[in-house]
Symmetry: C2
Subunit: 238 residues, 2 copies
């Protein structure tokens, strides 16, 4: 049975890395002693070693060991054998590029579908969707495809931001960008605000955290989902 | 001789479409009676017809006719024969995708290199760079490549925004994103603020408009270039 946490962000303003969600993670990962960390997204370009050290420090607080995927000679085998997996945020294009290059993506999808507990934050959450087409990241590398794991039947827009009515900037709002996406695509998109996450248990997908989330479906007005909503096919249907 | 205007935006806050730059355009396009408009970037997903009508209305104020590239059966021939060309903003992924699909990109690069006057705004400016890897846009379609025209020896980040020191949002700043780009790439990137543009005349590239622009080079501190700066190989060298 699928067991996934899809979080908008690793960090909320004014607190430490993963701090806001650690109590939830202690329960979520209670059967695992070691978590396999996928550091490929490299936020600010930090090295795999530095990034893994950051994840290790946070998980030490709930008595979990962390190993980095880059420490294994055979990353596909490491994913196959992992007790639990965490993919951190950073640049989604580089993350997806490396997941294809190492052939980890297909195996990751397989083991998570079969029940290996998986935590994603930001870019690590984007790859749970059908495609990475609603990332906010800059296309700094050209991945072989935008298709991702499709562990949930919609796409994620992490770090969702409401329009700023006082802004004089002419760049597009997040909502405008997602509406442009629906000119060319059908897949629904969930705008997850920082501090929100999805708890996926088998086929049940529940919105958790303090905030509402904004759901965009082609040809319909966007709606706000309150925390606790079960996101099922009725809500998602156009 | 190349004759190009590379503008950060079509529109500055509080004024009409192209209004801030129309006096400059009257001079720039003085030898042309008709401008070929490339509407492929479709901001907010508007149709080619609507978008061309918007460009037509603006250029009527300086007595120029506008024809849309979609009105031609053979778009490559239309680009070849154009007196002058304007590519509007919108989604850079969709723009580049269509420019590859229609095989217009290579011909556009050729005619602009040989002297057909070219105006780009936003996405239409991004394609003047070496690659589109510093766009802010959402990857709503998968283009066959991120390579663009290389009419200037660096990339453009349009609508450049300074970090907001009061923000509680944990998403990355523009500067952080561009620094991540330089972990994987060498090409310099120019952050062009709204209201700034580059005037390219042959091999001379001059920063124009009211604002400074921010230049990012791999392994160096970012610097501000003042309006009037000639952006030459000395400034660009790492």
């Amino acid at each position: 049975m699928k067991k996934i946490i899809v979080a908008s962000t690793s960090t909320v303003h004014g607190s430490g890395y993963l701090a806001y969600i650690l109590p939830e993670l202690a329960t979520f990962f209670k059967e695992a002693t070691t978590i396999l960390f996928i550091p490929y997204a490299r936020p600010s370009g930090i090295s795999y070693e530095e990034y893994t050290a950051k994840a290790r420090e946070a998980f030490a607080k709930i008595d979990k060991k962390v190993v980095g995927l880059h420490e294994f000679e055979n990353p596909v085998a490491a994913v196959t054998e992992a007790e639990a997996i965490f993919t951190g945020g950073g640049n989604t294009f580089e993350l997806v590029n490396q997941l294809y290059k190492t052939e980890v993506l297909a195996k990751l999808q397989e083991v998570v579908s079969l029940g290996t507990p998986y935590l994603g934050t930001s870019a690590g959450s984007n790859i749970c969707g059908v495609t990475m087409m609603n990332t906010n990241d800059m296309p700094i590398v050209y991945p072989p495809s935008f298709d991702t794991m499709g562990l949930i039947p919609f796409n994620i827009n992490a770090h969702y931001l409401d329009p700023d009515p006082t802004s004089k900037h002419m760049g597009e709002t997040r909502e405008t960008r997602i509406k442009e996406y629906h000119v060319f695509n059908e897949t629904p998109v969930l705008g997850l605000r920082e501090g929100s996450w999805l708890a996926v248990n088998g086929n049940s997908i529940e919105l958790k955290g303090k905030y509402t989330a904004r759901l965009f479906r082609k040809g319909k007005e966007a709606i706000e989902l309150s925390s606790g909503t079960i996101i099922d096919s009725t809500i998602l249907s156009v």
